[in-house]
C-alpha cells in the first residue's frame, strides 16, 4: 500500500457517481413498495363482495397520461439544456415539466371527485376501492413529492442560483421523475386495462 501522491496509476481511478448510485438504490426500494401494491391490486381483481365495479366507474385517463409521459421528454430537454450551459432553456423546459405534472395531478383530483361524490366509491367501499385509491394514491403521492422538488428548483432558477455545474444534480433528480412516469405506465395497465 502506498499513498496516492507517490504512485502514478496506469489508468485514472474512476468510480460511479454517488448521486446516481444513490438514486438507483432509492428507485429499487420504491419499486419494491409499488410491486407489493400492484400484487395486491391484481390479487383482488374480481374479489369485491359489493359494487361499484371498475367497469362501471373507471374511464381511461388518456389526457392525464399523455401529460405525465410528455413531462419525461420535457425534463430530459431541460436537463440537457442545463448540462450544455443553457440555463434559460433549462428554465423553460423545467417549467413545462412542472405544468404537465400539475395537470396530471389535477386530472387525478377530478377523477377522484367524480368517483367519490358521483359514483360513491371510497377506499372503504369495497376491495376495488381499497386497492384503487391506495395504488393510484401512492403514485400520486410520489408525483406530488417530485413536484415539490421541481418547484423548489424552479424558485431557485428564477432567483438565478442554478448554474451549469448543477447539471449532474438535475440529471439525478430526473431519474426519479422518469421512474415515476414508468410506474404510471404499469399502474395504468394494471388498473385501467387489466382490471377493468
Amino acid at each position: 500500500m502506498s499513498t496516492a501522491s507517490s504512485v502514478s496509476m496506469e489508468q485514472p481511478w474512476v468510480l460511479p457517481s454517488r448521486g446516481r448510485v444513490g438514486m438507483f438504490s432509492l428507485i429499487a426500494a420504491e419499486l419494491a413498495i409499488f410491486t407489493i401494491f400492484v400484487v395486491a391490486y391484481l390479487f383482488y381483481i374480481g374479489k369485491s363482495l359489493t359494487g361499484p365495479l371498475p367497469k362501471d366507474v373507471l374511464e381511461l385517463p388518456i389526457f392525464a397520461s399523455i401529460c405525465l409521459l410528455s413531462s419525461s421528454l420535457t425534463i430530459h430537454a431541460a436537463v440537457s439544456g442545463l448540462r450544455n450551459g443553457r440555463v434559460r432553456t433549462f428554465a423553460m423546459w423545467w417549467f413545462g415539466t412542472m405544468v404537465l405534472g400539475l395537470i396530471f395531478l389535477g386530472e387525478t383530483a377530478r377523477e377522484w371527485y367524480h368517483l367519490i361524490f358521483e359514483k360513491g366509491l371510497t377506499i372503504s367501499t369495497n376491495l376495488f376501492g381499497t386497492t384503487y385509491y391506495s395504488l393510484v394514491g401512492l403514485h400520486a403521492f410520489h408525483v406530488t413529492v417530485g413536484l415539490i422538488c421541481i418547484s423548489i428548483a424552479m424558485v431557485l432558477t428564477l432567483l438565478g442560483k442554478v448554474k451549469q455545474e448543477h447539471g449532474e444534480r438535475a440529471e439525478v433528480f430526473s431519474l426519479y421523475w422518469h421512474f415515476v412516469d414508468a410506474v404510471w405506465i404499469v399502474v395504468f395497465t394494471v388498473v385501467y386495462i387489466i382490471g377493468r
Binding site: M1, S6, M9, S25, A32, S124, T130
Partner: protein, 557 residues
C-alpha cells in the same frame, strides 16, 4: 515504499464543556460518531429486550405460573421480538457497518453523511415511538398498553375489531418510521462501497466485510419495502376503513403473511450476513491466514442474497398451500443451505493449517461456527414441510431462530465488540474478563436454547403464557429459565469490562492484533478525517504487503 502510512497518533482532546460535547454528538454527520450512537442505542435496547425475555422465562418456569397476566405476557413476546430485531440487531449492525466501512475502503466518510444522520435519528425515533406505547397506547383496559399481536402481527388479529385501541398502531408506525431510516442507511452503504473505494481497491480486492455489507444493503432495499407497503396497507385498514386484510369484506389474511414474510425471511439474512462479515474478518487474523476461498465466499453470499428472496413461504407451510407450493418452498429452503454450508467449510478451511490464537474475539467466533452449524441443521429439519407441520409454531422453531440470532449473530457481535473496541476507544479490554464473559454466556446460551428444542418436539406451541402440567414440558422449561441467569451474568461482565476498559484500559496502539485491513493503519481511535492521505492498495491485505514487503499478497492473488 518509504513513507507508507503517515502514522497518526490519537490526539486526546482538551476537556470541553458538556453542552458542547452533547451538541457535537447530536448534530454529528461523522460516520464514526453515528456508528457509536447506533451501537449505544442498540445496547440500551438489548438490555430492555433482555428484561422482557427474562419476564417471560420466569412466567414459564413452572406450569400455571402467575408471575404476569396473559395480557402482559403477550405484550412481552411482541415487544421482545420487535425490539430485538428492529432496535437491537439492525441498529447495531448498521452501527458497525457505518463505523468500519469507510475505514476499510480507505474513504473519509460515508457517501451521504447527512442522510446518515437523518437515518439514525429516524431509527431512534421509531424505537421511542414503539416504546411510548407502554404509556400512551390505549388497549382493552384503558391504561397504556404496548402492542400484543406478536412481532409478525398476523391479520386479522391486527384489525380494529380484534385489536382495540392504538397499541397495534404504535407497532405499525414505529416500524414504518424506522424502516425509512433503514432504507436510508442501506442506500448510504451501497453508494459508499460502490463509489468511494480508494484507488486500487477493485471490488475483488475489498475486504469481505465490505462485500457482505454490500449484499446486505442491497437486500435491505428490496426486503424492507414490502414490510413498509404492508404496514401502509394495515394503517389504511385501521384508520381509513380499507379492506386489505379485512376477511369479512373478502380480504385475505394470507396476503399479509405473504407480504410480511417476503420481508421477514430476507430480513434474517440481512441480520446474519453482517455477522458472517465479522467472522470473516476475525477468523483469518486469529488463524494468521488469509480467508480460504475469497471468491467463493463472495459468490456464496451473493447466492444467498438472491435465493433468500425465494424461500419466504416456509414460514407458511401450515397455512394450507397446495402440495406444489409446499414442495417449491421446501426445495428452495434446502437449496439455500448449500451456499451457507460452503461458508462454514471455508471458515474451517481458514483455520486449517493456521496458528489459532484463542483470544476473546476468536473464542466467540469458534463458538459461532459450532452453533451456526447446529442452527443450520435445525433449519434443514424445518425446511422439510411435513416435519414443519409438526415443528412449526412450536418451541422447536423458537429454539432454532434463537440459535441463529443469539448463537450465531450475537456471538459474532460480541467477538466484533472485543476485536474493534481497541480501535474505537484506543484502549485494550481486559482479556480475563472477556473470557469470563464468554464462558458464562456460552453455558447460559446452551442451557436455555439446547433444551428448548425438546418441548417443541413434545408438542409445546409458542406464544403461550402458560402450559398444562403433565405434558412432559415442565423440566425443560425450568432448565431454559435457569440458563437466562447465566446469560445475564455474562452480559453484565461484558458491559462492566467495556466501561472499565474505556476509562482504565491499557493503550491499544494502532494495530494490537497484527491485522491486515486498512482500519488498522490509522490511529486508535481514528482522527476525524480517518487518513492523512487516501491510501492506494494492491491486494486484499494491504497491511500484510507493508509488513511483508518480501512476500506481498498481490503476487499470489
Amino acid at each position: 515504499m518509504a513513507s507508507e502510512t503517515i502514522a497518526l497518533t490519537a490526539v486526546h482532546d482538551v476537556p470541553r464543556p458538556i453542552g458542547t460535547i452533547l451538541h457535537d454528538w447530536v448534530t454529528t454527520v461523522d460516520h464514526k460518531k453515528l456508528g457509536i450512537l447506533y451501537i449505544l442505542y442498540a445496547l440500551v435496547f438489548l438490555v430492555i429486550g433482555g428484561i422482557e425475555a427474562t419476564i417471560m422465562r420466569i412466567q414459564l418456569i413452572i406450569p400455571h405460573n402467575h408471575f404476569v397476566s396473559p395480557q402482559v405476557f403477550n405484550r412481552m413476546f411482541t415487544m421482545h421480538g420487535t425490539t430485538m430485531i428492529f432496535f437491537v440487531t439492525m441498529p447495531i449492525l448498521f452501527g458497525f457497518g457505518n463505523y468500519l466501512i469507510p475505514l476499510m475502503i480507505g474513504a473519509r466518510d460515508m457517501a451521504f453523511p447527512r442522510l446518515n444522520a437523518w437515518s439514525f435519528w429516524l431509527t431512534a425515533f421509531g424505537g421511542l415511538l414503539l416504546y411510548f406505547s407502554f404509556i400512551g397506547g390505549n388497549g382493552l383496559y384503558g391504561a397504556g398498553t404496548a402492542p400484543d399481536v406478536g412481532w409478525f402481527a398476523y391479520a386479522p388479529l391486527t384489525a380494529t375489531a380484534f385489536s382495540i385501541g392504538h397499541s397495534t398502531d404504535f407497532w405499525t408506525l414505529g416500524l414504518l418510521v424506522s424502516g425509512f431510516g433503514s432504507i436510508g442507511t442501506a442506500i448510504n452503504i451501497l453508494a459508499t462501497i460502490v463509489c468511494l473505494r480508494c484507488p486500487g481497491m477493485t471490488l475483488s480486492k475489498m475486504p469481505l466485510f465490505a462485500w457482505l455489507n454490500l449484499v446486505m444493503a442491497a437486500m435491505v432495499l428490496l426486503a424492507i419495502s414490502p414490510l413498509t407497503a404492508a404496514q401502509m396497507m394495515l394503517s389504511l385498514d385501521r384508520f381509513l376503513g380499507a379492506h386489505f386484510f379485512d376477511t369479512l369484506a373478502g380480504g385475505s389474511a394470507v396476503m399479509w403473511m405473504h407480504f410480511f414474510w417476503i420481508f421477514g425471511h430476507p430480513e434474517v439474512y440481512v441480520l446474519v450476513i453482517p455477522a458472517f462479515a465479522f467472522a470473516s474478518e476475525i477468523i483469518p487474523v486469529f488463524s494468521r491466514k488469509p480467508i480460504f476461498g475469497y471468491p467463493v465466499m463472495v459468490a456464496a453470499t451473493v447466492c444467498i442474497g438472491f435465493v433468500g428472496f425465494s424461500v419466504w413461504a416456509h414460514h407458511m407451510f401450515t397455512v394450507g398451500m397446495n402440495s406444489y407450493a409446499n414442495s417449491f418452498f421446501t426445495i428452495t429452503t434446502m437449496a439455500i443451505g448449500v451456499p451457507t454450508g460452503i461458508k462454514i467449510f471455508n471458515w474451517i478451511g481458514t483455520m486449517w493449517g493456521g496458528k489459532i490464537i484463542f483470544k476473546t474475539p476468536m473464542l466467540f467466533c469458534i463458538a459461532f461456527l459450532f452453533q451456526f452449524l447446529i442452527a443450520g441443521l435445525t433449519g434443514i429439519m424445518l425446511s422439510a414441510a411435513p416435519f414443519d407441520w409438526q415443528l412449526g409454531n412450536s418451541y422447536f422453531v423458537v429454539a432454532h431462530f434463537h440459535y441463529v440470532i443469539v448463537g450465531g449473530i450475537l456471538f459474532t457481535l460480541f467477538g466484533a465488540f472485543y476485536y474493534w473496541f481497541p480501535k474505537m476507544s484506543g484502549r485494550m479490554y481486559n482479556e480475563t474478563l472477556g473470557k469470563l464473559h464468554f464462558w458464562l454466556f456460552f453455558i447460559g446460551f446452551h442451557l436455555t436454547f439446547d433444551f428448548m428444542h425438546i418441548p417443541g418436539l413434545l408438542g409445546m406451541p409458542r406464544r403461550i403464557y402458560t402450559y398444562e402440567p403433565g405434558r412432559g414440558w415442565d423440566i425443560w422449561n425450568l432448565i431454559c429459565t435457569i440458563g437466562v441467569f447465566f446469560q445475564i451474568a455474562g452480559t453484565s461482565v461484558f458491559v462492566g469490562n467495556l466501561l472499565w476498559s474505556y476509562f482504565k484500559g491499557k493503550a491499544a496502539g494502532n494495530d494490537p492484533w497484527d491485522a491486515w485491513t486498512l482500519e488498522w493503519s490509522t490511529s486508535s481511535p481514528p482522527v476525524e478525517y480517518n487518513f492523512a492521505e487516501i491510501p492506494v492498495v494492491k491486494s486484499r491485505r494491504p497491511l500484510w504487503d507493508i509488513k511483508h514487503p518480501e512476500d506481498p499478497d498481490w503476487k499470489y492473488e
